[in-house]
């Protein structure tokens, strides 16, 4: 069975989404267990795939039994072998943690919610695992459409914010499709590895250049890279907490994976960094993204919105790292995909818990929360330390690689931006801690019986959160292994 893991990984969530959808009409209580089982299988196969890749190298899975350029094939190498378990595990933990929140927010629509959730995970896993450029577009649209549905159920402003996201997301996906069309017209192929094989004689072609630029702009739109980030903060802020803690950690990170995949596999680093002279400009854009993200986060008086601007800044980290054009920068970017997915999950789950208990996430709602929700706030401290980049947590190590990459590329602006953003993060989070710790709990909702006592979120929400916090530290401690055994092989040897 283990040679069928690539198919199971995507097909099990898809099939279970359909079953959940039917179960939603029959008996709502069945939805959650089916979803958990399906994502459990998906996470299991993702980890199994990673182990197989470590053991045997690249796996090729032919769908429908047709060999690659004719049919669609899955390629699992070290790069997506690493990203897959992250996506599957983040989705799995978030699913378990949000059971109560979902029941609280959508008592009537549990079935559709889990259906969309599973379809979204299917889409994201499919994007990561596929080796076909057009298949990626279809999966991109699945992830996007379900994402719009999930995000639009929230506060009053959520539909408008999501509609703006939909316009931008559609333009992004269409640009990607157009880029694939340009590649198709000059090479005649849709398979990523095959395109990479056919491209080298065409590196001077204007069509290839345009294809690359269009693809990149499309992917940047989808990941909210700086001038194109305007849709993200509102869409993520006004959404319900179960959806935003799935989408905020995963969607931007998966899009960064797509960008790195396009750079490393489809267009090859020689073309991107040697033939084109764009990398310096893009890194400067990333610098602006980081600085603007940090500054805009400072201006917010609202925890969730502040975190969304941090997401924008983190996108800048990864794009900048990937475009530095050297091994350390790329290592940092790939490592940061893993770390950032986990730490964004951690902080957004904290917001979820706070919303569940306090029904708000503005700064004035946070007063006295250290006394009220000690475990949740403890996890926030670890998540914040990771975002700032304090040593035992994982955020430190990826930032370290990014800074080393910036120095060896001689790009001191990027290094300065990284340090500046870390310092701003310190300010941001200590401001939050100050409010949560020192200011007494404000009883403005008037239905709290124990103003000074502990009133933690339910155990089913706190335990997954603490697990994520522990994972943050563990990943930090095992960074060396991850880099030496996985990421090192994910980057082609031609890149130094």
């Amino acid at each position: 069975m283990s040679e069928q893991y690539p198919a199971l990984l995507v097909v099990v969530p898809l099939l279970s989404a359909l079953v959940v959808s039917i179960a939603g009409w029959v008996n709502k209580r069945l939805c959650f267990p089916i979803a958990v089982a399906a994502l459990g299988v998906a996470a299991w196969s993702a980890v199994g795939l990673l182990l197989r890749v470590l053991d045997k190298g690249v796996i090729v899975y032919k769908l429908g039994g047709w060999s690659p350029p004719m049919g669609i094939a899955y390629y699992i190498d070290y790069l997506n072998g690493l990203v897959l378990p992250v996506v599957a595990i983040v989705a799995f933990i978030n699913l378990i943690a949000n059971k109560k929140a979902v029941e609280q927010q959508f008592p009537d629509k549990i079935g559709p919610f889990y259906t969309l959730y599973l379809l979204m995970v299917t889409g994201l896993l499919g994007i990561v695992v596929t080796g076909d450029a057009f298949n990626l577009y279809v999966l991109l649209e699945i992830a996007a459409l379900t994402g719009y549905g999930l995000l639009a159920m929230g506060e009053e402003r959520a539909p408008l914010a999501t509609l703006n996201y939909l316009y931008m997301g559609t333009i992004g996906a269409c640009f990607y499709l157009l880029g694939v069309g340009y590649l198709y017209i000059v090479t005649g192929s849709l398979n990523m590895v095959d395109i990479a094989r056919l491209l080298p004689p065409l590196y001077q072609s204007k069509a290839v250049l345009a294809a690359f630029i269009i693809c990149m702009v499309g992917v940047w739109l989808k990941m909210a890279f700086f001038p194109l980030h305007a849709w993200l903060p509102n869409a993520y802020t006004y959404a319900n907490s179960a959806a935003s803690s799935l989408i905020a950690p995963l969607v931007t990170k998966v899009m960064i994976y797509v960008m790195i995949r396009l750079i490393l596999t489809v267009f090859t680093p020689e073309f991107v960094f040697t033939t084109l002279a764009l990398s310096n400009a893009v890194v400067w854009l990333a610098v602006i993204a980081i600085v603007m993200g940090a500054v805009l986060a400072l201006a917010e008086r609202n925890l969730k919105k502040m975190l969304t601007y941090i997401v924008v800044a983190e996108v800048g980290y990864m794009v900048g790292g990937a475009w530095l054009g050297n091994r350390d920068g790329m290592t940092g970017a790939i490592l940061h995909i893993v770390n950032d997915a986990l730490m964004t999950l951690c902080v957004f789950m904290v917001v979820g818990n706070i919303v569940y208990k306090v029904k708000g996430y503005a700064f004035e709602d946070l007063k006295g929360l250290f006394r009220k929700m000690p475990f949740t706030m403890g996890a926030l401290v670890i998540g914040a330390m990771s975002i700032i980049g304090v040593p035992p947590t994982c955020g430190f190590f990826s930032k370290w690689y990014l800074i080393v990459g910036a120095i060896s590329a001689g790009h001191y602006g990027f290094m300065a931006a990284l340090i500046f953003s870390s310092m701003v993060s310190v300010v941001l989070f200590f401001r939050v801690f100050e409010i949560c710790y020192f200011e007494p709990f404000a009883d403005h909702h008037g239905h709290d019986n124990h103003p000074g006592g502990m009133d933690e979120a339910p155990v089913s929400m706190v335990v997954p959160l603490l697990i994520v916090a522990v994972i943050l530290i563990l990943v930090g401690l095992y960074t060396g292994d991850i880099v030496n055994h996985v990421i090192q092989f994910a980057i082609p040897e031609t890149m130094v």
Partner: protein, 277 residues
């Protein structure tokens, strides 16, 4: 905003014009796109899948995995529309007056707040903006719908030999139900195709597709490799591929049919399911 829009538009346009210069000439038989992959599809489809319509063969077999997700996309659009718009009876705000229509005579009555009609088969609840459907349109559509549906079934069944297939047929079949809903009123249409039925059919359609693929997996071949079905269908592997394509096309047809109705019902009645277009 208009100026920014113009600038962005012209920048994009300029980039595309610039790149179009390097394209192979239009309709050139020697262009890479026409010489690299497509000859294989054109020349080998008949012997590998025994389906004369190459588009159908490539759609449902060579790139069947794409099509499965295409069906999943349309399914998720249906679920999203339901998830966003459908208003459950609990959340619905009560209007001041309730309107009822006598089914046989078409006489409408209004009851003030607090008064409810006892449930009976003779009266049905309607919106205040209800207008009686026109007799000519009603009869005309009633005459057209069976032929539309027959054509849709033909399109699905004949997708191997002529343009068409599960998707087009499903849309036409769905359109016939939408026509019913437009020409009569949504309540009539919903009575025939209840919401629960539609919701389940959507999932069942995609399930037929994905389930066929999973069945191939259980029969020890790769996902969606229809030749695995040869043993079950008692035919040779090539014909099994042709039959496999038909099975999944039917699945696509069911899913699309149900989703089109579902989306239409939710959008036209804004989730209230009583009166619409």
């Amino acid at each position: 905003m208009k100026i920014i829009g113009l600038i962005i538009t012209f920048l994009t346009g300029a980039l595309l014009f610039y790149a179009a210069d390097d394209f192979p000439a239009w309709s050139d038989p020697a262009s890479p796109a026409s010489t690299y992959l497509s000859p294989h599809f054109i020349e080998k489809t008949m012997e590998e899948t025994s389906v004369p319509n190459i588009v159908t063969a490539v759609l449902a077999d060579y790139r069947g995995f794409d099509t499965m997700f295409e069906t999943a996309v349309i399914f998720s659009a249906g679920v999203v529309c339901f998830f966003l718009l459908r208003i459950s009876r609990r959340e619905e705000e009560e209007p001041e007056t309730r309107s009822y229509r006598h089914v046989l005579t078409g006489v409408t009555i209004q009851l003030k707040e607090g008064h409810k009609m006892p449930p009976s088969a003779d009266f049905e609840r309607i919106d205040s903006m209800w207008t009686p459907p026109d007799l000519i349109i009603k009869t005309g559509c009633r005459l057209m719908i069976p032929f539309v549906q027959l054509f849709a079934l033909y399109v699905i069944a004949h997708g191997h030999h002529s343009p068409g297939g599960g998707f087009q047929g499903g849309v036409i079949l769905g359109a016939s139900f939408i026509l019913l809903a437009i020409s009569h009123d949504p309540t009539t249409a919903v009575r025939r195709t209840s919401e629960k039925l539609i919701g389940i059919l959507c999932a069942v359609g995609v399930l037929i597709y994905a389930g066929t693929g999973a069945l191939c997996l259980l029969l020890k071949l790769n996902f969606l490799d229809y030749s695995a079905l040869a043993g079950i269908l008692h035919v040779d592997p090539i014909t099994a591929r042709s039959h496999g394509i038909l099975i999944v096309e039917i699945g696509v047809g069911i899913a699309v049919l149900a989703t089109m109705i579902w989306i239409y019902n939710n959008i036209s009645s804004a989730g209230r399911y009583r009166q619409g277009l």
